[in-house]
Symmetry: C2
Amino acid sequence: MLCRKVRNQMQIDFDKMDGLVAAIVQEDSTGEVLMVGFMNAEAWAATADSGYVTFYSRTRKKLWMKGETSGNRLRVLSAATDCDRDTLLFRVYVEGDGLVCHNGTKSCFTEPLSINHSRTEALK
Amino acid sequence: MLCRKVRNQMQIDFDKMDGLVAAIVQEDSTGEVLMVGFMNAEAWAATADSGYVTFYSRTRKKLWMKGETSGNRLRVLSAATDCDRDTLLFRVYVEGDGLVCHNGTKSCFTEPLSINHSRTEALK
């Protein structure tokens, strides 16, 4: 267990953002991006050891296993880091009722933003 | 155009992370998460106006349109922010040869991380 922890932590660059990395949660079965949180080294170790996504709350300054109270825990099926080793991607199965966002939606990304397509549409 | 800029910027919380928000890039056709970068308000405005993902480089301290040199630009098909308005999600079409990562792979998330599945497997 210790070997896994040490090996994994060495693969992740926590220094670039004051001890934190962004952690993307993606539903494995659909590919839908559900939410993004932050992990410090301790949160990452808790995630790797428990198999459930555990974030570090910047406002509460403590670890929180997502869904521990609601039952909508995020069971990690696979995890990867990127070429800079400063972002994590988790493919998960959502337990419980599957509503990840505290607003009662499946995904937190529910607010559309306007994009000007006039320049790119000319290229199609 | 000004109205769109102002409206969009008011929807995004740049204050939580020193003027920056994380920006996830997801291939629209497959759902694959390709990379994550950072945007400040100027980079977001450039993205919304050009229709191409434009990041703010924290190391070079300037804007960069991803793929402007290589030709692998990220054409934005849709964009959204989350319930906290501090993360952006872009669904894109990758122009050029489709290899987004500077290491020559399609996605930057190529480094698998070990997860202990023994606790969650017991729940299946």
